[in-house]
């Protein structure tokens, strides 16, 4: 994307933000709602720990750290590219044709047209709770752990973003796919909140390793907590999220390209 493209992108986003800010009450309600989605995710974890002392061999503080890491990563991805899930609406209505003829990137246009600044609420809430969760879980304050705390949500956000984009492309092949992408996006968040030790072999291979959700929270949390992996994974996996994120992003970019080439207008 050239600098001209970037300027256009900036203008679209700014116009959207200004437009949505006109309706103050609606925006305030949406912002509160966005924060509440983050609250409910974490509250569900707390409820489970009301009836048991540990999950998959991990105590509340440890699982809470994983849940907040996953929460921040998801919130960032949702803010950046979450709206790409509206692709199916564009494909069905034929509006994608209009997007394709413009001299700008298709993906950047789609995410800019529907940018949802309300989602900042969930990010801010997540970051605040992450700081709290890390200190409660007894994460040592070292330059390395602080760097890991900073990099992990970003890498996780790239992983979730890749999943958002890759699953949205399903609409290119299957227009009536409905909310099927949610299974991997929101489902991925659900998965990554908990230690992967609680999942059976198939679910773990598919979600944790093949898709890479284990690198959103589980492995970096082990490194932050200075705990060995009960499943026998090497310690360096805790520092692998950026590499995993790069792989997922590359895969998603490939799937997206194939999808756009495959697109046939619905003609409506």
């Amino acid at each position: 994307m050239g600098s001209a493209g970037f300027t256009a992108y900036r203008h679209i986003v700014a116009a959207q933000v200004r437009g949505q800010a006109q309706y103050r009450a609606s925006f305030a309600i949406d912002l509160v709602g966005s924060v509440m989605f983050g609250v409910i995710d974490l509250a569900s974890v707390l409820v489970l720990f009301r009836v048991v002392p540990a999950l998959g061999g991990f105590a509340l503080g440890e699982v809470f750290l994983m849940a907040t890491l996953a929460g921040v990563a998801f919130a960032l991805a949702d803010l950046a590219v979450g709206n790409v899930e509206r692709l199916r609406v564009y494909v069905r209505s034929g509006l994608l044709d209009a997007v394709l003829v413009r001299p700008l990137g298709v993906l950047t246009q789609l995410t800019a047209i529907d940018v949802a600044p309300r989602r900042v609420g969930r990010v801010v809430f997540g970051v605040a709770v992450l700081a709290l969760a890390a200190s409660r879980a007894g994460v040592a304050v070292t330059p390395l752990s602080l760097a890991l705390l900073l990099v992990t949500p970003i890498a996780g956000a790239v992983i979730f973003s890749g999943i958002f984009v890759a699953t949205a492309t399903v609409a290119f092949w299957w227009i009536e796919s409905g909310e099927i992408a949610n299974g991997l996006t929101y489902g991925g968040l659900n998965f990554a909140q908990y230690p992967i030790t609680i999942y059976g072999a198939i679910l773990r291979r598919l979600f944790a390793y093949a898709i890479g959700f284990a690198f959103v929270a589980y492995y970096p949390a082990l490194a932050l907590l200075d705990r060995a992996d009960p499943l026998g994974g090497p310690a360096w996996l805790g520092y692998a999220p950026p590499a995993a994120a790069a792989l997922v992003a590359g895969g998603a970019a490939l799937v997206w390209r194939i999808g756009v080439r495959h697109y046939r207008s619905t003609g409506s």
């Binding site: 949406d30 409910i40 002392p53 999950l55 009536e176 099927i180 299974g183």
Partner: protein, 266 residues
């Protein structure tokens, strides 16, 4: 008059029978969450003493998978058609018809639910039965009670959605109530965890004082036979009370809303 509502219900059934691909996609999505939620709740049972809050493993598996089936049957998360029609003014067309708007929409929704119970309910339950040991009801009466319970749940769910959308008569933009509904219905309804994981008093208070558990938690508790037949009937009674109260509220809100309605020009 009754014939008109029956015809509307049949039309609702037929309408959703044409959305076959959408139903298939929904079943796949609900099943993915079924696997995830089952794994998480089984970890809870593993960490506990095999029975947590009165649920053993087969009960939890049934709770999760039937719950995934109920999502699309009672249709917790529905498109916001009515609110959009109020905002655009299209709702005037509904008001011109010689049928009550609430009963008219309820009839259509019951037809939809009837179709969904063959597809969106059976689908996830079949997937769950394939991979997990689900609990078969030990009392034949449970099947009948569960059927009634799902009917009540559908009516309560319909009523709540109607009220959330009817807020547009006053607010025009019903986003606030819609967001609140999405948040509360799953969390306080028993979809993410059985409400009995909360302190007993809190669970009881939610069940009696809020409509949310009548939509997911209570039908599932009836199905997994939590307690005796008398307990199941009591749960049904709670649901029936909520169904009656909410429908009465819907009619009242509709009457007030019609007086409030300003059709926007354009």
């Amino acid at each position: 008059m009754v014939r008109a509502y029956v015809a509307l219900a049949i039309a609702g059934f037929r309408r959703y029978a044409t959305y076959r691909q959408a139903a298939a996609a929904a079943i796949v999505t609900n099943s993915i969450f079924g696997f995830l939620r089952c794994a998480i709740l089984f970890a809870v049972v593993d960490a506990g003493s095999r029975v947590v809050a009165g649920y053993d493993e087969p009960r939890l598996a049934t709770f999760v998978w039937a719950g995934q089936g109920l999502i699309g049957t009672v249709l917790i998360w529905a498109p916001t058609d009515l609110a959009d029609r109020i905002r655009t003014g299209d709702v005037v067309m509904d008001l011109l018809r010689p049928v009550d708007p609430v009963w008219q929409q309820l009839a259509g929704d019951l037809g939809r639910a009837a179709h969904a119970s063959f597809t969106r309910f059976v689908g996830p339950v079949a997937v769950g039965a394939l991979f997990f040991h689900l609990r078969v009801p030990s009392r034949p009466a449970t099947y009948v009670l569960f059927g009634c319970s799902v009917l009540m749940a559908t009516i309560v769910s319909f009523g709540c959605r109607f009220l959330v959308n009817a807020a547009a008569y006053w607010l025009l933009d019903a986003r606030g109530p819609q967001v609140a509904w999405t948040l509360l219905s799953g969390f306080l309804g028993g979809l993410y965890f059985p409400l009995w994981f909360l302190p007993d008093a809190a669970a009881r208070a939610l069940i009696v004082a809020t409509p949310f558990p009548s939509i997911i938690q209570l039908p599932l508790d009836v199905l997994v036979e939590r307690g005796t037949v008398a307990d199941q009937v009591a749960m049904l009674a709670v649901q029936a009370s909520w169904a009656a109260a909410i429908l009465a509220l819907c009619r009242w809100v509709q009457r007030r809303g019609e007086r409030k309605l300003v059709v926007q020009g354009g």
